[in-house]
Amino acid sequence: MSLASASLDHASHRDGVINADALRADARRESRGMFALLSPGLFLVFAVIIVPIGWLFWLSLFDESGQLSAANYARFFDQASYIKTFVTTFKVAFTVTGACVLLGYPLAYMLSQLPRRAASICLIFVILPFWTSVLVRTYAWLVILQRKGLVNTWLMDLGVISQPLPLANNFAGVVIGMTHIMLPFLVLPLYASMKTIDADCLRAGMNLGASPAATFRQIFFPLSLPGLASGLVIVFVLCLGFFVTPALMGGGKVIMWAMRMEQTTSLYSNWGAGAALGVVLLAVTLALLGLFHWLLGTRATGVWSER
């Protein structure tokens, strides 16, 4: 309602300098109206995100006897395994994100160059695994990768290797399993952004004498960066909180932060012990997002700047 009246007002005061005050009042009214429209959403965000996170933070400040203390945070430095877990989590997240970029970028590029019909058929194969449970896919990888699994049996039968390769129950297994699960999260935003790149820009570049490689490097790649960055951020953040695949593929030797949370929550009688782990993960994730934002610039961090 206020939107409609506002546009009418604008039309009737086209030479608006004289009516500056009225226009300002109008703008204020409009923003108030907008805020009123937004408020249910804002309330929801406040109630289901801000309040619980605040509560989590509050809980993390109390020790087992219910006293205000930093014990839940001090534990990370007293017990070596927490730092180890933390480092492992980031090592896995970086490796998986890197692997996803290496595999996902060429894939998305190919999809974007295919005729529309062929591209949508190929996209189905990218999305298909989404419809299968993570647990099932992880077990499938175990069947493929373990000591007497498909890969090792074939390679040994073919005489390529004499000893089975250690592909499961270790870091390699976790990375392979997680890369498979994370790949669509990178490919889909990347494909979407590649499809919006104007082919005329590329033609213009080549028209001016650039080689196909130079056109790709100087025009296509920079224009695909926002999509790449948003895919990268999504994959990285999802990796940080991953549970199922590392728990099954890591053979208990790759302990990630989320697995630690589960263990700590059942080990300690106060919720604060587990809550502190959540607070740390959240803080570090936000800090990293800030870092990406700063490093890649507003244009590239598509999560915020897709508009």
């Binding site: 070596a80 395994s81 180890k84 000591r147 053979g251 208990g252």
Partner: protein, 346 residues
């Protein structure tokens, strides 16, 4: 017919007696356990016969353990009237005051190991941690003791131990040092950790669930492992080339509690009394490999003699194993687990 009439009669009487309390709530209790084949066995052994005898409805749910109980009790939203836990969880939860006191005038505790009879929790069944090895790798000359398991020269091969149950791995580590079964408790934690340190470099997987332990052995990912006897029995029955025995097993009890604030406390007490009675306890090993907590079950004559030798808590097998002490872990679990994690994640 008569039974149904009788129940109807009761319901009407209940309605007449108090209009405010719904009759259905008064004769329904909810019991939570671990799910899977174990809970199916409990349903046949304990829950169904009890429901029939007391004329009540027993609803079922599954639990993840102590944190679920803690969440319900501290959050003032108790859904369960009885829940199963590991004995060390019972001991810890008792210290935190999460359970209702049990009435041993209603529950007959004779036949249950006194270590598993407490003010607010009682033993219900036993699981054993046993050493399993693959016979296609070792024939019948596989590792028989934990010292063998630790001997990587004499028994080369891939190994798995529990990474999530520090209590169990520390117990077998103590046995591996040559400590006799009756001297393992109280566990010398630092000594046991040193023992774990010796074998650590040769462990190919630290399992975190019973299903995982089973999968590792079944698929030949490891040649020997510590495993729960129920899982080991399932493997053997499915025809996997494996061997295990109760020698040097670690006998771990499960227990049942009434969470504090249960709305049907009195009825739950009566049901729990049935669950631990020798008669129903004797049903359990007919359906699953977890042995009864009440040793009087073996005197009921319900368990076939040839079955008794395969039950971990039969008097004969108990002598071969270490009984895990819940009270010990109540006070040391947190510290021991943190140290254990530091060690295996180095």
């Amino acid at each position: 017919m008569t039974k149904r009439l009788c129940i109807h009669g009761l319901a009407i009487a209940g309605l007449l007696a108090s209009a405010t309390v719904p009759a259905s709530a008064a004769d329904t209790i909810t019991v939570a356990s671990w799910g899977g084949t174990y809970q199916e066995a409990q349903t046949k052994a304990f829950f169904d016969p009890t429901a029939k005898e007391l004329g009540i409805t027993i609803k079922q749910d599954t639990t993840n353990g102590l944190d679920d109980v803690r969440l319900q009790v501290t959050g003032n939203a108790v859904k369960w009237d009885i829940t199963e836990l590991g004995a060390d969880e019972c001991a810890r939860g008792s210290k935190e005051g999460l359970f209702e006191k049990l009435d041993y005038n209603v529950i007959d505790k004779t036949g249950i190991n006194p270590k598993l009879v407490h003010d607010d929790w009682v033993g219900i069944s036993y699981t054993s941690v046993v050493l399993i090895y693959r016979t296609d790798v070792f024939g019948d000359k596989g590792p028989k003791t934990w010292a063998d398991f630790w001997d990587v020269q004499k028994f080369p091969g891939r190994r798995a131990l529990s990474g999530s149950q520090a209590t169990e791995t520390l117990s077998v580590a103590a046995l591996a040092k040559g400590i006799p079964i009756d001297k393992v408790y109280p566990v010398d934690i630092d000594g046991a950790l040193q023992s774990v340190d010796k074998v650590k470099g040769h462990i190919d997987a630290w399992w975190t669930s019973g299903a995982q332990a089973m999968q590792l052995v079944k698929d030949g990912e490891v040649d020997m492992a510590s495993i729960w006897n129920g899982r080991a029995g399932t493997l053997k029955k499915s025809g996997a080339p494996v061997s295990f025995s109760f020698d040097q097993g670690v006998l771990t009890a499960d227990c049942m509690v009434i969470p504090k604030g249960s709305k049907n406390k009195d009825l739950a007490m009566k049901a729990l009394a049935k669950f631990v009675s020798p008669d129903l306890q004797a049903n359990l090993p007919l359906y699953v490999d977890n042995g009864p907590a009440n040793e009087k079950a073996f005197e009921t004559g319900k368990i076939p003699p040839e079955r008794i030798k395969d039950i971990n808590s039969s008097p004969e097998n108990v002598k071969k194993q270490v009984l895990q002490d819940p009270a010990f872990w109540r006070d040391t679990l947190v510290e021991a687990t943190e140290k254990f994690n530091n060690l295996i994640q180095q």
